[in-house]
Symmetry: C2
Subunit: 364 residues, 2 copies
């Protein structure tokens, strides 16, 4: 029987507590004979505190060797003034870059039972199911120069550089069209072609790939600012949104917030398929952050993290039955009213992080 | 009596029809003895069609000589494939840059009468009154290199560059703190200091100006992605948001969309005060775009454009009584139910662009 190597990187804030619930689920599957081998290491502020780096070389080696990485969350005010190169986020950015995880899939789903938790009107978000496909290893996140320079007169100049190459846009466009083909067959490509050359370029490459390889999928181009507006106004007009690293950061957060289910949303970051093995590197993480304000209090909703493990079952290990079983268990627990505070309906008794994990294991 | 020189640049799409209503208002004030001198010229796609440039040198001269520019909107699918350097938006960007209009003030106000037009729940947006202060002449909009290069192997690379200098961040921070002092005394500064060096720099400079000159104003730093989320979740937590050119583009569009009043929101773009004359260059424009889909149909809401003229009365000409009078006329017309389709309540008869302009003149 195949063994699946999982690296768990709980990180900071609520990361460790939500990861603990995933470990229960992993344990359950292991007892039923699914071969999981897990290792755990530090990332983010906790890695900085231990090693002076946002991720150690050893942890990077484990990540390279793993079949999938499960990532909690990083960051917090505690590390706001550590040197830039070792800030908590640097650990996550290095994982994305070194593992070549160029495709970030962020589903934004509004569970009908939770529609009232949204700040938007129920009819605007109920049943919402969109997928943001964010380019994750290029753009302004990694382009050089990226520096702060002191000039002769003592004043300073700061620079960031957004760079995109043909193959980077091509491969993320293919991921988006491919996904759309399995969904509602529509891709909205967001950029600022009216202001940015990378936007002009993005539009050109996406258009070319569409014509050449996916002309049966509907493609629309939308300005990133207008896309943000339309997400607020009438989000159900979208199916798959494909966009660059920086716009993707913002647009996916908006989309997540619309659903009223931020604590529920998983994400997958995937690398290219190895032509020899058919395997791809992958990291799975909740869309929410480290939420330092509620960390350690047992209040965090573990479902986004557990759902991220569910995405790993599906995308990395091909364990579709197991993934379905887990999704169903989550749905049943939700329906039964076992919910953390962030998604409890008015009048409902909110339970703690561990209770939700335990309930899901019991449902399984 | 002083003469105020206004340059009207209606632009494309619904620009001309909403500008026509402003001319009625200008005419009314002129008849009552306020010295307005107006000139009109082309900008955007219509300038391209006439001159092959998004704004002519003559129009730029008029803009330089004017006390205030009133700008409609530019762009439309018709010009989607004109060369980059002469695309409609280039006219607006040149005006901003050449007139040194570094401070873009975008109020987002939710009129109680229109709260139901928002896609957000009434209680989330009712009474909302925030001000986005967007840096407008720096950042990725203007930084070089900004190019698409073909490499030896035939593939391409596109580049945009975000640059900020000390004085650019200082002056926009001052505008924000200054405004906050006249409002609810809170500034939220948005950047991505966890990923961008310009973000690190932005946070440093804003913090320094705050300590040195405005320590009585509350300052918070917020990540741009989180700011977008918080705008959707609980926008009333904000008073003044100060941010860079690109984040400002997106965040101000989100803020505007929350209000349900996109057709209502004016904006001002201001230059530095001339120490000799106390004057500053200024351009006033609606937050909404050129809306090609409804152009020429008499459906556009002219209130954002008329309100932009109101901001000119206030900020450029110091005509505070006149500005108050205009604001009141607008409010009365709204209250009377004379509304275009975008803001008509269910069951209300929507009127046309001209009807709203006429009604406001009548109210005056
Ligand atoms: C933590 C941070 C570096 C990260 C990003 O900006 O990509 C986060 O906001 C995200 O969206 O995953
Ligand atoms: C028209 C376009 C160049 C402009 C911008 O991106 O600044 C617009 O979106 C705005 O916000 O004023």
């Amino acid at each position: 029987m195949a063994t699946h190597k999982l690296l768990l990187l709980p990180g900071d804030g609520i990361g460790p507590e939500v990861m603990r619930e995933v470990e229960k689920i992993v344990g359950w599957f292991r007892k039923r004979g699914v071969g999981f081998e897990t290792e755990t290491d530090l990332v983010g502020g906790s890695a900085y505190d231990a090693h002076g780096a946002a991720i150690s070389e050893d942890a990077m080696k484990l990540a390279q060797a793993a079949d999938a990485v499960l990532f909690g969350a990083v960051g917090g005010a505690k590390w706001d003034s550590v040197p830039y190169a070792v800030r908590p986020e640097a650990g996550l950015l290095r994982l994305r870059k070194d593992l070549g995880l160029f495709a970030n899939l962020r589903p934004a789903i509004c569970y009908p039972a939770l529609a009232d938790a949204s700040s938007l009107k129920r009819e605007v978000v109920e049943g919402l199911d969109i997928m943001i496909v964010r380019e994750l290893t290029g753009g302004v996140y990694f382009g050089e120069p990226k520096e702060i320079v002191t000039l002769e007169d003592g004043s300073q100049r700061a620079v960031d550089t957004q760079i995109y190459h043909t193959h980077e846009v091509e491969r993320i466009a293919r991921v988006a069209f491919d996904l759309a083909g399995k969904r509602r067959n529509k891709v909205s490509s967001a950029e600022k072609f009216n202001v940015m050359k990378t936007g002009v370029f993005w539009r050109q490459v996406v258009t070319r790939i569409h014509k050449a390889e996916f002309s049966d999928v509907e493609l629309e181009h939308v300005l990133a600012d207008n896309c943000a507006m339309q997400l607020v106004r009438y989000p159900k007009q979208f199916d798959v949104i494909v966009t660059d690293n920086l716009f993707g950061d913002i647009l996916s957060d908006i989309a997540a917030m619309l659903t009223g289910s931020l604590g529920m949303l998983p994400s997958a970051s995937l690398g290219a398929e190895d032509p020899a093995t058919g395997q791809r590197k992958a990291l799975y993480e909740p869309v929410h952050g480290s939420a330092p304000d509620i960390a350690g209090k047992g209040l965090a909703n573990p479902i986004a993290m557990i759902g991220s493990f569910g995405m790993a079952l599906r995308y990395s290990f091909g364990l579709l039955d197991e993934a379905d079983r887990l999704d169903k268990a989550i749905a049943n627990v939700l329906a039964s009213g076992t919910r953390t505070k962030d998604i409890a309906a008015p009048g409902m008794n909110a339970v703690g992080t561990q209770d939700v994990g335990d309930a899901i294991v019991k449902e399984l």
